[in-house]
């Protein structure tokens, strides 16, 4: 059975779930009164939390994590301390809530948002899954849990192989997702965010999924589910006037390091298309630090189509000009000119790299290539 077939089965099983009457949480105090079945679900979620902590998947950026938590607390002030937001070191377009109030936000999704209002749209939606106990509802309505487990295993889902993981990561039934949209939207308005940013969040995620031909099975990279969110939020925002805050500068400042780390992560996985999409447009590039031109140059180098070599050189040079203390651009230029057999330029740039980053992990290569360039110059 292929992954696609397995995921189709998952979708059918989830879609078949009806909404059951479960009393939602009204405040943090309600979490002390869980029924035994729900307590078991929380225990599974705690196991997931422990596993993800141990597996090195948590992105440790205190500034960004504190910022996300503050946005969540503004959306759901009565649950402060019970909804805990963490960032996951993964380039995928995903965010999910566990039944115990743990919210995981992937770096890949976070790096693609433009402002705090868009971030709040996703957090409000995920927070609503927790408040409305959607994980527990889904568990109650899935009659054939063993079928779920088999399908999950075939889909290659890591860490957790049951209903909890499926619902939380891959999304809930259409009714439950719509309920999360409605409550999330109410919270966005109440917290003072611009409601018109919500559909934009999903619109540009959908555009990216389409442009990159993303085949990831996650909720926020599923085109049909994004389309549902767009329609749902457009409908909700239709009666609202503009206004409310976007907090773009705050968002960009808090996520600066994370967005650069996402570019590095994408490049290190050969996902150059994501980097091209993030940086090719001047207005998006302007939201990144000055050295971002280097990452665009790297994306062209990895794409390696006709004309990309020249584009890469152009952007490396731009990075050197705009951020003269940023070492990687010099290494890239050194290797680029070495391949072009311009040994004098290669030696210059490689020397500069070693001055700026003498103990870099790849310094031994650079020393060797610098020597090679020197030898070639002597021969000429």
């Amino acid at each position: 059975m292929t992954r696609a077939v397995a995921l189709a089965c998952v979708a059918i099983l989830i879609a078949g779930c009806a909404v059951v009457d479960v009393k939602p949480l009204e405040s943090a105090a309600d979490t002390a009164q869980l029924v035994p079945a729900e307590r078991r679900l929380w225990s599974e979620a705690a196991d997931f939390d422990a596993a993800i902590q141990k597996s090195d998947q948590v992105y440790r950026d205190e500034n960004a994590t504190t910022y996300l938590q503050a946005v969540m607390d503004r959306l759901y002030p009565e649950f402060k301390g019970t909804i805990r937001v963490q960032i996951v070191r993964s380039p995928h377009l995903n965010a999910f809530a566990l039944p115990n109030g743990s919210i995981y936000f992937h770096v890949g999704l976070l790096a693609r948002l433009d402002n705090e209002a868009q971030l709040a749209a996703v957090l409000a939606h995920e927070g609503a899954h927790y408040i409305k106990k959607h994980g527990f509802q889904q568990r109650q309505t899935v009659k054939n849990a063993s079928a779920f487990a088999v399908v999950t295993a075939l889909a290659g889902i890591p860490l957790l192989g049951d209903v909890l993981a499926l619902s939380s990561i891959y999304g809930y039934s259409q009714d439950l997702e719509r309920e999360a949209d409605n409550l999330g939207y109410e919270r966005l308005l109440k917290a003072g965010y611009d409601p018109h940013e919500a559909p934009k969040t999903f619109e540009h995620l959908a555009a990216e999924v389409k442009a990159l031909d993303v085949k990831e099975p996650f909720f926020f990279s599923s085109h049909p589910k994004l389309q549902e969110r767009i329609e749902s939020f457009r409908h909700l925002a239709a009666s609202q006037l503009g206004g409310g805050y976007k907090h773009e500068a705050e968002f960009l400042a808090a996520t600066k390091a994370l967005r650069v780390a996402c570019l590095e992560s994408d490049l290190s996985m050969n996902r150059y298309k994501s980097v091209l999409l993030a940086l090719e447009r001047q207005e998006r590039m302007a939201k990144y630090p000055r050295e971002a031109a280097y990452y665009l140059g790297e994306a062209y180098r990895l794409r390696a189509e006709a004309g990309d070599e020249a584009l890469a050189e152009q952007h490396y040079l731009k990075a050197v000009k705009q951020a003269p203390a940023f070492a990687p651009a010099y290494r890239a230029l050194g290797i680029h000119f070495m391949k072009k057999k311009d040994h004098a330029s290669a030696q210059n740039y490689l020397s500069r790299y070693l001055q700026l980053a003498p103990s870099a992990a790849d310094a031994a290569y650079v020393r060797q290539y610098k020597e090679l360039a020197q030898q070639e110059m002597k021969k000429q």
């Binding site: 141990k54 597996s55 998947q57 996985m269 050969n270 992990a361 290569y365 290539y369």
Partner: protein, 207 residues
């Protein structure tokens, strides 16, 4: 209640699916494959079932492979392999670039590992080396498995006319990695890639 016949059928299927292991002895110590020669450590176990199988996220790919261990693959695993140029980096769908520098091959190898699901791996060191007398890369990476146990992996990589050669050693950081690192270095020192028409002498040369 499971019937006796069904029970034996399960056992037969189970046994058939088990890996076959052979202890490396004097007669099998020197291993000569179609595209490389290498000397294996005496007393280690060589998996017959893993020979030439390369499961990837894109399905199985072609090449040659020898996997050995002393106490079990989870405790220490050494792989000596050659991947066809077309399938050199199967998880990122990239062939072996003909003029790539070892530095670039190391970068592609890391991308391939990450694309295979090891997104959180850390590169400890990446440096140029000679493998069988030819310019290659040496990578040292660190990662945790799903249970949180930290592993380290050393990988020598060589871009060659016959494809991408990889010699790797992976073990838990605690005890096993430092304990068997020297053994791996000894294996690496005996490795020699064979050119297409080469008839290789039984004794491999040092790197």
């Amino acid at each position: 209640m499971i019937s006796r016949g069904l029970f034996y059928a399960f056992i037969a299927v189970f046994i058939a699916g088990c890996s076959l292991w052979a202890r490396v002895d004097e007669s099998t110590r020197m291993l000569e494959r179609d595209s490389f020669v290498v000397e294996l450590p005496m007393g280690w176990m060589r998996s017959e079932a893993l020979n030439d199988k390369f499961p990837t996220t894109k399905g199985p790919v072609k090449g040659e492979r020898v996997a050995i261990t002393r106490d079990g693959l989870n405790l220490q695993q050494v792989d000596v392999m050659r991947l066809d140029a077309q399938n050199a980096f199967p998880n990122i769908n990239k062939p072996l670039p003909p003029s790539a520098l070892p530095f670039e091959l190391a970068e592609m190898y890391v991308a391939d590992m990450k694309a295979a699901g090891m997104e959180a791996l850390t590169v400890v060191k990446s440096e140029p080396v000679l493998l069988g007398g030819e310019p290659a890369f040496l990578l040292h990476v660190r990662f945790r498995n799903n249970q949180g146990l930290q592993f380290e992996r050393l990988v020598y990589g060589l871009g060659h006319a016959r494809g991408l050669y990889l010699l790797s050693f992976q073990a838990p950081s605690l005890h096993y990695f430092p304990q068997y690192r020297d053994t791996f270095d000894s294996i690496v020192s005996t490795f020699k890639a064979k050119s297409a028409a080469q008839v290789v002498a039984a004794t491999p040369t040092s790197r």
